[in-house]
Subunit: 429 residues, 2 copies
């Protein structure tokens, strides 16, 4: 039987380039090098102090216990309140979320992998708008399911293609349409019209619609993100049917700078949630009660600090401005569309065929006074192997000064890389 | 496509009876009732204070970050040191475990579900010695794989059947043999001869062998548990081949009273671990760095407190004695084989055909001065639906006094149940 030592799904899994870069960067940092880690969406911003307070309070009891597999009631209540409050403050019409509509997971990753295991049989397909967060492929692969991409293009501001074009990708195997807004990596925020179109297609074709809304609060300009929870069809029977298709994914990682707590949420109808929760129960048994307690403390604190999110947005806007200015100053040849949300920047280097080698060169073989930069080659964000080959993604997760410095280092690295490549192609001694 | 709204694997998942009882008990406690929760292996013992210290230190930095998907190096190093030290102290020959042999997961549940997703294709089978921890069925179901059981019997001290009997269950679909020692629920500790026999069968049939060793340290009598890491064949080539089959599952939950941190481990050869780690990466992205920091603190502290485990064992031994005495005093009609390890007791009620209803009656409809007891009906620990129907499992997770009280309440509940059933069968007015 050991002809194949591993399940065939494992062949579909590979470490994401984000994570590969992270591993190399961590080693270099351990060796004493300074690495500006723009390769991973790991904010340097300190989490809200109420998180630590809540954690300390719970840890000090010495009682760290199993939790219900759907999540602790106090966190589900607090998060439901937070979500309703978020939309209410902006005075937008939305589906009211109740405690029963919330499942707690080990981050948004687990929210997605649980969801796919609950809704996809082997061979099933999920449509995703491209570019997309590359680990989606692996989350689907755990269920034996396959990602199919609907391409969008920077030249066209990543606009959603026509209904006809999207429907062309739907097959009898399609189970769900998925989109991520604000988008990682492109920064695109889907307009109300675009989100409604996706919702309508899902409704007409009886497909689940999955909104990865982990960057909902991260707005870099004037355009707010539209949640699936805001979709309101004119016919009441459509709205009722839509509730059987709607799955929202969320996380405490980005808006609360709590990537390392691994707390995420699935928001959906109770009958759907119960099935996803059973997968959760047989994946991790339950989520840490200690972390749920801490994260509830963080959400609770933000609820009473109405300017918390505005300050956070302001921080990222300043970083974006610093990045745009530094690019204009040091990398005049690149194309870098201004993102509307999330906290990434896609940078295209027209002079490159393939930028992958340069990224590793810069990290491993180059430094300016012991300092260098980790970035993510962007090809992984596309299913089409021809796309993204001369693009990188940087995350705006360090101070404006460090971002400016990083981009200057990048410009120096480009010069050094030209010399390095030139030397490589010279004949041997 | 929405004929089947959910993946077919979901049909194989059901809330474990342990968890069902937990949910009811929690509600009753919230209503003010006192419930002795003997239904779940959730120790009441406070975790080691160094855990809280480490957690507080890390949380106070405000930096809660992504972790490598194989786990943080400091925790993997500390745990490897702990494991080697554990065997060394008892002067038993064992495979030395290195940092590279350790994967950190979200508890032993996740260690198992990740492992099954990495090694089992849909339709594959895993042999498990019965009785077994019932969620195994669901962990396997996530991978589309099926559990097959090799029955053992209390009358025979749960002795491992003959090689011939075990081999009878092996088919071309079998991928692994799995056992849990000390065993939940039976308390059985497999002898060196038994573990070696299982290892030899795995070797001869080229099957993975998975040892669920989460209760390794929980010894209630004189017999120590034998780890798969202690198996040493006479031929060196067998030992080498065995390394390609060996998978040990462990957890911080039981020995360190840290069920709610959800930190588990897979111990295996690096080439196997890398594949399981890829599943981990696409399930939860990574394990919380905060919790890994805390758990490393706990393991580190135990390493410098050589009597920690002996004290813990003494605590559970006193509880077992209290339980055995109370059973003799209040439930003379039951059969309760003395467990050798773990911290459970299986109690057979010969007067019952099916004890399920009684368990729910006791919890929901009965109390003595506002106090009652939650226990787990044992049928779920068997695959054969005829087995375990008149058995319950209790966990020795409260003080000796509370255990005695609980068993007295059980005896009272039995009397009340007889009256309740008698009334039910009387003709209506």
């Amino acid at each position: 039987m050991m002809k194949d030592r591993f399940a065939s799904r494992v062949d579909m899994l590979s470490p994401s380039p984000i994570r590969k870069m992270m591993a190399i960067a961590k080693e270099l940092v351990a060796e004493g090098k300074t690495v500006y880690e723009l390769n991973i969406g790991q904010p340097d911003i300190e989490c809200i102090p109420e998180f630590a307070k809540a954690i300390n309070k719970k840890a000090s009891t010495g009682q760290i216990n199993y939790s219900p597999y759907i999540g602790e009631k106090y966190l589900r209540e607090t998060y439901a309140r937070y979500l309703n409050h978020y939309f209410d403050r902006r005075s937008v019409s939305h589906l009211v979320v109740d405690t029963e509509n919330i499942l707690v997971t080990v981050g948004a990753s687990h929210a997605l992998s649980n969801t796919f295991l609950a809704i996809c049989n082997p061979g099933d397909e999920v449509l995703v708008i491209e570019p997309f967060f590359s680990p989606y492929i692996g989350y689907l692969a755990l269920a034996g399911a396959v990602l199919k991409s609907v391409p969008t293009y920077a030249e066209n501001h990543f606009a959603l293609p026509s209904d006809e074009e999207i429907k062309r990708h739907i097959t009898p195997k399609t189970r769900a349409i998925m989109f991520n807004s604000p988008n990682n990596p492109s920064g695109k925020i889907y307009s109300h019209e675009e989100v409604e179109r996706l919702a309508r297609i899902a409704l007409d074709h009886d497909l689940y619609i999955i909104g990865d809304e982990v960057y909902r609060e991260m707005i870099l300009g004037d355009q707010e993100a539209v949640s699936l929870l805001q979709i309101n069809f004119s016919r009441e029977e459509d709205n009722e049917k839509f509730k059987d298709l709607l799955i929202v994914i969320d996380s405490a990682s980005k808006s609360f700078s709590l990537c390392g707590v691994r707390i995420g949420f699935v928001v959906s109808k109770q009958s759907i949630l119960e099935k996803i929760a059973l997968v959760n129960a047989h994946s991790v048994a339950c989520v840490s009660d200690l972390l749920q307690f801490g994260v509830a403390g963080a959400y609770d604190a933000v609820l009473s600090q109405p300017d918390y999110l505005e300050k956070l947005r302001q921080t990222y806007r300043e970083r974006l401005e610093a990045a745009m200015k530094a690019i204009a100053d040091f990398l005049p040849e690149v194309v870098a569309p201004r993102p509307s949300g999330a906290f990434y920047l896609m940078i295209k280097f027209p002079q490159f065929e393939d930028i992958n080698e340069f990224c590793y060169f810069m990290l491993e073989k180059f430094n300016v006074g012991g300092e260098t930069v980790a970035v993510t080659p962007a090809h992984a964000f596309y299913l089409d192997p021809r796309r993204g080959r001369n693009e990188i993604r940087i995350a705006l997760v360090v101070t404006p000064e460090k971002i400016r410095k990083s981009i200057r280092i990048m410009a120096e690295a480009l010069k050094a890389y030209r010399v390095f490549k030139g030397n490589q192609t010279r004949p041997c001694l």
